[in-house]
Homo-oligomer: 303 residues x 2
Amino acid sequence: MKEEKDRIHDLAIVGCGPAGLSAAINARARNLDFVLLGSEFCSPKLYKAQKVNNYLGYYDISGDELRNKFLDHIKASGLKVENSKVDGIYTGDGYYSLMAGFESFNTYSIILATGINYTDLVKGEEELVGRGISYCATCDAGLFKGKKVAAISYTRESIEEVEFLVDMVKEVVFIPSFQIDKTIDIPATQIIKGKPVEFKKDGEQINIKLNNQQLYVDGVFIFREVIPPDKLVPGIELTGPHIEVNKDMETNLEGIFAAGDCTGTPYQLGRAVGQGQIAALNAASYLSKKKSEKVKEEEKIKV
Amino acid sequence: MKEEKDRIHDLAIVGCGPAGLSAAINARARNLDFVLLGSEFCSPKLYKAQKVNNYLGYYDISGDELRNKFLDHIKASGLKVENSKVDGIYTGDGYYSLMAGFESFNTYSIILATGINYTDLVKGEEELVGRGISYCATCDAGLFKGKKVAAISYTRESIEEVEFLVDMVKEVVFIPSFQIDKTIDIPATQIIKGKPVEFKKDGEQINIKLNNQQLYVDGVFIFREVIPPDKLVPGIELTGPHIEVNKDMETNLEGIFAAGDCTGTPYQLGRAVGQGQIAALNAASYLSKKKSEKVKEEEKIKV
């Protein structure tokens, strides 16, 4: 951890679906120093596909088998997926810092391959982000010391973040969208079953309307599979829910590339693999250009 | 042949490299009526690759093995590659006509996946196309009846076209860039070994400078692996040697899409596969939109 803190990588790849994995094998081919950050389970969407027939080279294969072929490729390339869900990306002094739970990574370039949420945002959510609603316990739990918050979880992997919240604030109301395993012991003050339908500001508090009841809290933490890109990276240009990219997979932010479903439709495997490759090769070009500029700059200073 | 003449397909895919093959399996998935037109040997470039490591799902595989996996996929999908090298595409009445040697195909939409020439054009070539230089014997041999032409071949597959020229014109000087097999009997008037370095107009004739001699002819036929896209499709927009496409792989011409190396760098397998998929899915959307417009139009006429 200490070592990681002081290190600046060439590249961070955020997401381990087909776009992220394709970016990784291509970044490897270009000998970049990079981290591949993903969730515990790469590409749940691919895993669930019963049969895949339209990825050239494999036919009549289950999504799970194909996913395993992809992960075998990663392993055989000497790579590994760091189980780190990035929840915030910030600009440092000439580099980017990625916050991932309790860890952080520094890097000169980034490929966003985060996929896309297939569920809609809740009514009122968009307006209240940063005004009581947060997607990142590590970043914002400190703001709610001594207060009551709701933790709305769309993913089992967020349980660790809920536990962190419990340590930091006075009361946590846990609202999971999934069945809770009886063996999991969540130390939340209260567990509510219900589907959030609306958030409203009410004085200093937030009023959460569920399909079956309502409650008032001081803050709301929402844990989804995918954080909306503009919440993850402030200032990134979107078209609708999609990250705007050019043909080189560059976003509007220098050194930040994007690939796969997060860049638009059609949401397809081959497209994601192709874009991951383009993003990695262009990130490599970007980095080598930056390095040669830096050398020139240093030579100027010497003269 | 007669049947084919009167038929209008949904789609023609021109080229059977990775982009064309990926377009084909995706067009199949969308149940389009299409032809897949390629050369006898799909993707010589892939075939020659010693090892491929950066196409997600396969590693440490030879280009030839991977090419066979791709062709197996095509066969397993019930598809076949028509051995037809398209040498001209023309606009008909609401559809396109593709000339391929002695055959022709009609279609409402096209995906160009022709790859790119890795050899440069000869000096003077560009300016003289249509003014004495042609890429298509079937199209233009008739213009040189009773005259002397040169047939410059960069591909063995063009020998058939040279034979056709011999039947049509008075004299054929054959200038192949490859070793001629002694068992092949070319009935050309003359066979010259030499590398073309420049073409110049000289009155009604063309002066061909080779690296070792020069000659005068009335016309020049050049047979390459890949016909430059703007020579293949008059009016198509290029940037340098590449077909200009948007994110949906649309060109500037309605119903014509492009994918793979012909659209730009990096010249890579995964990119080609992804773009082939995008082109096919967008061609499917284009066709279904056209069909529903046509239905509306017909309903209007009825009213």
